[in-house]
Symmetry: D2
Subunit: 341 residues, 4 copies
């Protein structure tokens, strides 16, 4: 099978990661690369690492062209730009995997309040399938529009889901202490993310007001069938790639007995999942275990009535481009790990 | 006033920091440096940064010599080594500031269980004053033996104390997510702390079983007058210096109203403290604000009934050598910030 | 075609990189992993990143077993250990790719003087082919023993060869200023390579006495047909992976005219090489262009009679495991880039 | 003695370093801080690390005000901005220490060609004293305008001067391989200096065309009494602070015999210099030895007719703010190390 692929947005780290994966993909052919460039240029001029690997050109965004050549279009664009393009692509029958936040939140008002912009394509929000592969595999199979999850939500939801799905924890007490590498902030010039500002530093930011909070709440609430409102504090790590989230939960009386029990429960919940790895008792995952891969690794400990979960992912892979390709594999009935191991 | 000072243990990062501060101290003269060296050597051969600043020699540990020349002796030794030396120094009337854990825990059994060693000087534990300057200033004034606090406990206790002292939070719900630079692990060769293992990595360790937990519990429980048992997860940051702790507390009904109220409360509690700085609403401290200084900066936010506190210190200064000198200043009735600004 | 592969030495970074590449290799099957382990263990216990990718076990080194199952054996061992194993493997008809320094230097006395050990298998040194794929491709095709080049020599020789081969530079004036990431120093516990010592630091070491100097001299002298004695100063970079070498050469009168001419010359010399990329005038390669790949990128500038060349490689790939697999591909007549793009 | 000081430009790293030093200076009082701010603000709002250390305000640049209150004015401004202010300050009898490049190059045409701007105050260039304290101490004593040296030139000139001053090396063969931390690039938002671009990377830039080259050439040529034209390649290090330069020189026949001889020569040349430290044979300095200090450390080795010198400084201290205060100390006849040890 050959899948004809287009990518819109290739100058950012997510776009780079998409190209890297898709060049290795045995069933995908990249037909077009679009970006905000003035005139066509070799993608290897933007990313010299691709020299000798591809002669692909990157062109100015051309909405008609992208809907002619491709079966599937990946949108690796800033929030609020995707929704300018999606309606046209859907109308032309394309499958769209959108890596921005534009179609993740079912409540358009919440989107507008957190992203501080009016939604221009509210009509398609309902059609979008939330692309967390492990939870929505069956819906993704037939999706025409996948809203690929945010990086923080991916680790958070995967790290908490088994206990929420079985209603084993106190829904009023979900604390997520998150730490992310700097590629999560993108490639735009910024004083805050200068090397001189980030190195030998560590800081919290958007303390409990981050725009990924409603996304996590939406999915956990849906899964648990009750309102869950997490406490979420993200921090900037002086590393390029990787997210580690330390989650503190309060188990309900009589729910899970001890660490062994909660590990067993997670292993069962994620049975047969190719990209979820549960650590044994006493062992916790670290960034190095997953950076450069599409895995999400989870370690667990129960102390008294507190459950501590540590979840790690590569923010650019399982947290973005890797999961996007995983979703493409699901849609095209390919082995889910194709090009991802 | 001239204080004659001896330092035992100078090859580690804490010893280096002590020398650095004391060389700048207008009232202190370093008389002796002792360490596990084979034969006397210039301290600038151990730390080339001290060349042209001092001609001090470092000698083999000589317990008699150190009690002759000095008014105060700083012990910057591994845990369990201090208690071999302290009894002799106290007997000879010296003032001792011990930077190890040997005299911090009032319950000797707890010490023995967490540090996995038999205590050899239990008799002096009761005489030791816990050297958190802000909480024990009056006792430190007359102390002959100061048990200088651990780095994690310093940030944790300072970050939580105002709410605990006034019994405004749920004692069963104190969560501390701590992140420390690598100098906290010392200078001993170790595979786990190789640059190749630490850089581009981030990991949790000793998840809720770290030896600093009983120290934090002891002090918070004493302060609050009720048993407090914290949840504590430390992580290794790829930076040299600095600790940031994100603390999650649950305020009791009707205690503090909002962020402004809790900030006001902290400012009042730490009024006149030269080294505690409370951030304004919406602003949180970062490592860079305190690394290289003796300050502890704290930022706060109230969300629903959750209080989030972010506390940062330099682990080698306020978390070790800086606080040790602050305590010396207190003992000798010097301005507390002498040599520390 | 299926090549049965064994790897000896898997606990180091080079061993990890070999496994990673060979698991992706469509024509290779890893039959055995050997290492200094006490009892057999899953390789994913040593390197958790391989969980869910392989169930391979790592066994105690068993010289007989490794010669039964494998067509080719990769030795990723410390210097001086390889020569204990190589004779037996050769006697049993195995193809050996040795990543240590044991068979690189044709002059055994030089080896013994720089590596400070007696050579135990001098008889096989003459049979070893120096595995710099670009220069020795034809000999590698029929080699039974490949001495895979050192990391520094790979970048140095590739960066200088075109000018030396054509005798266009002064042989008495070859200056190599080399900078390497910390994985080049291996994974053994060491105070010098602690994160606290490496981060925010940069240092020269083994200034013009490094053991890779005779290797570079041997190859450049052979290529130029005249004695070349380089000046070589290596430095430790606070990054995990990558080598950048800045080379200063003096062109002979009337040799190459200008930057454009020298670039043209390099492009011609490396025509058809899949892994050598020459940058255009005014552009120089950086670590990020090659880390994670098997490429060697080279940038050039002529200023007066000085030629400046900047060569970059990933020390664990083109500088070790990648080039080793490239050599295996050559021996087994596979496309040279198999599993390496 | 009390020196009244003004600083223009405080939002950059050099301005921050100046404030930090001058707050510790026993003879200096900072009277004014000026910067491109819209309205007056506390300097501790710009740099939270100064909270509790000073209540100084930072004001909009006011050329009249700054010439009323101060004896000496430090200009820590971007190149080309200083020359707008200097004439007025000199006319009003102020002593000016300019940390920009505007008055360093005696040849105005060279300045204009390298900095790509017309010089607006060529008349004062001749009056400026080049502020390399070790070489120009006597002239600095009576200077009204000090052109504080660039960071790269400081390390380069100090590392090479003894051999050039005594005409012991080939003037056509001076190669400087320089590596600098990121604060050298300033605090302006820039994609090239994002943490994600700098970390795990290393790159050469402005290869032999850097604007500091004419400054190094000017000073070495003057010192040697013959035209010296260096080869200079700077690189970006993933550290915040520090410059290390590896210098390759060719000694003339019969000049210095060996490493011991060259070390002796350097020690004699820099006899009594408080901030120059020459390493013993076999030992080379590293960034950590000097970062946070005003020292320049130099290590040396002679191999054949090549002399290798490694010089290290803190780019913000000896390479900028530290040397500026050293020059102020010289002008005001204070001990040169005041506030700098």
């Amino acid at each position: 099978m050959v899948i004809r692929v287009g990518i819109v947005g290739v100058t950012g780290y997510t776009g780079e990661a998409l190209i890297d994966i898709l060049l290795r993909h045995p069933n995908a052919v990249i037909m077009n690369l679009f970006s905000r460039v003035e005139k066509p240029c070799a993608v290897s001029d933007i990313w010299p690492k691709f020299k000798n690997r591809t002669r692909l050109m990157c062109e100015k965004i051309d909405i008609k062209k992208m809907s002619q050549d491709c079966d599937v279009v990946f949108l690796s664009l800033p929030h609020t730009v995707s929704m300018d393009i999606v309606p046209f692509l859907l109308k032309n029958g394309k499958t769209v995997i959108d890596l921005s936040a534009d179609y993740r939140l079912k409540n358009v008002k919440t989107y507008e309040s957190f992203y501080k912009v009016k939604h221009k394509d509210a009509g398609n929000v309902g059609k979008a399938v939330y692309g967390l592969s492990e939870l929505y595999r069956n819906k993704i199979k037939d999706a025409k529009l996948v809203a690929n999850p945010g990086c923080y939500p991916t680790a958070a939801i995967l790290g908490i889901s088994p206990l929420v799905a079985l209603n084993l924890i106190d829904p009023e007490h979900v604390i997520i202490d998150a730490k992310s590498g700097t590629t999560g902030a993108g490639k735009k010039a910024s004083e805050d993310f200068l090397a001189s500002e980030v190195n030998e530093d560590f800081r919290a930011y958007k303390v409990n007001v981050h725009q990924h909070i409603p996304e996590i709440n939406q999915e956990l609430s849906r899964l648990g069938g009750e309102k869950i409102n997490v406490t979420f504090v993200p921090h900037v790590l002086p590393v390029n790639r990787g997210i580690l989230e330390t989650v503190y939960l309060k188990k309900l009386k009589g729910s899970v007995k001890d660490t062994a029990a909660v590990i067993k429960l997670y292993k069962k919940f994620y049975k047969n999942e190719p990209f979820i790895r549960i650590r044994e008792e006493g062992v916790f995952p670290r960034l190095k275990d997953v950076v450069g891969t599409n895995f999400c690794d989870i370690g667990l400990r129960v102390s008294g009535d507190t459950v501590i979960a540590v979840a790690v992912i590569d923010n650019l892979l399982k947290g973005a481009a890797g999961q996007a390709v995983q979703n493409m594999n699901i849609i095209f009935r390919l082995p889910e790990y194709t090009a991802l191991l």
